[in-house]
Amino acid sequence: MSKHVADSRRVGYLAERLKEDALTESEQAELQDIIRNQPEARKYLVELLYLSVELRDVVSHWTDQDFNIKSNVIYGWFTKSAIAGLAAVIALTFFLWRPWGGEPSSPVSVADGIMTEEQLDAEGVAVVSRLSGVHWGEGTTLSIPRVENGSPLGAGVMEILKGLVQIDFYSGATVIIEGPAKMVIESADQGRLIYGNLWAHVPPPARGFKILTEAFDVVDLGTEIGVSVNRDGEGEVHVLDGEVEVFSNVDGEQQDKLLQTGEGVEVNKDGVQKSITARADDFAVAARLSGEAQGRFQQWKDSQQLWREDPGVIVSYDFDGGSAWDSTVKNMSTSALPDTEGAVVGCKRVEGRWPGKQALEFRNSSNRVRLNVPGEYKDITLSCWLRLDAVDSPEISLFHPETKQDRYLHWTLVNVKPGIVHLHFSETTKAKGGKAERNHYHSTWNLLSKKHGVALGEWMHLASVYDSEKKQVRHYQNGKNIGVSEIKDPRPLGIGNADIGNWPYHAWAKGTKWEVRNLNGAIDEFMIAKRVLEPDEIEAIWKVGRP
């Protein structure tokens, strides 16, 4: 029998992937398991396939009048009132999470509101509270952006190739897993370790928290423990503090051992238990997790000091150290011109690349940082640390000017196709007569490339350099050059009024596909230099700033 039972939402998702002929190998394996071992889920899968055939029949005869649809309704989805969304969540929760084969649920009230992804997944059992150098494996079924955002997580699988992940279960238990490892989050008080090492801290309210493995189950009675399991299912339990109970099954007979501080047990794949002494040092991951992150945070602070003193740096926002109510970000550059602080509109201060480091989160079409940088510049380097959480519009503003000025520049992400996002720079100069002449410098590198890029929800460093001497615009992602465009005729550049993460709204765009350009994500460092930053300097910013 399979270990992990797919819920109806997962089956629904897999059915869509199947119909699209878009299954990955691990999704194929999941469906194979459903067909083989999960009769209820299999039945639902088949019912969904029949339903899609019927829908095709019914809907193909529709005319627009049949359901009175206005164009572009979808754009409005994400800004629907939270109350309507919440009502819908409550209505949906009743049957979407109904156990298989249960009683028919109470009548569903279909509220005419739609939920954001956050609201849909609000019925979580855990959140990821810390990450360090994590490489996710393909077996991960949880949404990576959600995991990395610290958004609520439902049940699902986490496969970690490398790095450390801290999961806070809603029961109060904290678990740190070290890759390579595979863990199934099953409920607020239960996780299943397929293989790998974990450390768990279970405070009194979470007593009874369970860690299941192939060969044995651990019931934590309020304590700190380490559990490791290898790929054959053999494992060890080490009690660092407190008391746990370890169950296994040998030839149908239950083995049960109560362990105290300093004790441990080794369990082979047949469930046979053997006492050992607990080795605390093997599970000192919690200290390592904090230590590593703090060390890197400190290194970054040191390097940041050098950049501030660089005479070429005219804007340096690190978004750190402000109170939640601070509505300005200080320009930390020692060469800062007067009045070049940024005005924060609506953005929330959230945790950035390291614990204790702040970032600004941009979530909706009003969030922005407004700034004004006077002057004309021969060369410009723009640099920022960005976490892109979603791609909701064809163009996303990193740094967007007020276009009623004589000189300005755009720094944006362009969503050319689903899953493909390019970095774009342009400069505009208004000639006599007010006609704008714009030069575009586009990198065709996909920032979200599965192989070389980053995933949504991961921190990345982006930089673009306007080099008038070499007549080049160079783009960088994570320290690597991702495109060079030739400048035919270098011109002085201006910034003036501009928004970070948004654009000064124009009435003309209302109802067009350009209406929405705001960033859905976070920024925790933004720098403008009036000089060319060399490739090794940009690589250094990336290296020292890696989360």
Partner: protein
Amino acid sequence: MQLPEEESISSRRGELYSELLVTNRHRIYGFIYSLLHNHQASEDLMQEVCVVLWRKFDQFQEGTDFAVWAMSVARFCALNWRRKQARLPLPLENEDIIRLADESMAVGCQLSERHEHLQHCLEKLPVKLRKIVKLRYHKEVRVADIAGDQGISVRSVYLFLERAHALLHECVQRQMNSNPSNG
């Protein structure tokens, strides 16, 4: 459906066949699609199955369930078809495809004419979900293209479709229980 020339549709038997086929077409097609997972292939195989059904129609006993008989014929054709494919959206071991086929027959047998219920449930669907359903099924736009056209993420489209299907499934089941039609 093109019937073989030498057979006469005007015969009573032919009329009966046409009538049964029209009534049960969606169940048979649904059964085939649930095993092939691809509409183009399913349409092609449906044609083949119809020819085989007509050829074997003298084996069909009037008064028994035509859909059950037709599905058992379609089952052979579908399994054969799968064996011949180099690549499938969902590869399955022999025993698993048989499990799936058994499940599909069971579900298909319980289905009755429920387009009316479905129409009613579609009307009750929130307008935004109805729009996604329309995009997906009216012109058979692919998920990735819906995402691109609407400027939302592919993941969101999957999420919304999954939501719409779950709502419709639940609603249709409820309608059937409270107001069964005689299919």
